[in-house]
Amino acid sequence: MNIAFWIISAVAVLGAVLAVTLRNLVHCVLALILFFIGIAAHYFLLHADFLGTVQILIYVGAVAILILFAIMLTHNVTGTDGPRELLGLKWWSGAAIAAMLAVVLTRAIQGDKLAAALPAGDRAQSSVAEIGKALVGGWVVPLEAIAVLLTAALIGAVVIALEEIRKSR
């Protein structure tokens, strides 16, 4: 199972790196999908099966498609390569900030006592029934809040995207 962790991690990191560095927008989205699938595989590895499928359903099935549609509505659809954005001052500063963050976080995690103290092992077992009971039990208010939020986001997105059309007519 250790090998699985390393392979999946490599896939996820590769997907993330490609998603933010490739010049072609559509390629970026495809790399992002690779990253999403890698994260979903990690969830399966962590025995959070339900979250893994939710990840695929929502991120791969909905968010990625949404981004693709947004690209086709904004950019030229054939997806020609964008301008070369690397190696400017902005790039160096952004990369430096990110690298520093990575270094700081890694050092902090390595020095952390909790992470070192927790034993590695396969004790976690995801139970869909438990999640379901919790969702309609004690967590019903947050669930409904999320539902309202999603509805509001849906309506809001439609309103934002439609406004200019109405004006232009």
Partner: protein, 103 residues
């Protein structure tokens, strides 16, 4: 599984840094959004890793992750709608060109 929790945390940190780098360095608004998605996902990965190693007895962390995923979906929908609206206005999705507060 013999992977310690630290590995997952470091992986999530690296992914977060990659997402941050994308959000900071790229000019295209859609790629900035994608960088934010990467950061979201690495954070949720952290949550699930902690659930697996420490709080596996209760499903709370999974619920939290699910709500985060739902919020991320709403966020990306709104963000992309904004990008489309901005594109209609400026005919560009370059974040450096969106400076005017006036429409």
């Amino acid at each position: 599984m013999n992977i310690p929790l630290g590995h997952y945390l470091i992986l999530a940190a690296i992914l977060f840094a990659i997402g941050l780098a994308g959000a900071l360095t790229r000019k295209n608004a859609i790629i900035v959004l994608m960088g934010i998605e990467v950061m979201f996902n690495s954070a949720i990965l952290n949550l699930v890793a902690f659930w697996h190693y420490k709080h596996f007895a209760v499903p709370t962390a999974q619920l939290f992750a699910m709500f985060s995923i739902g919020i991320a979906a709403a966020e990306s929908a709104i963000g992309l709608a904004l990008v489309i609206a901005v594109y209609r206005h400026y005919k560009s999705v370059d974040v450096d060109e969106m400076r005017a507060l006036k429409g």
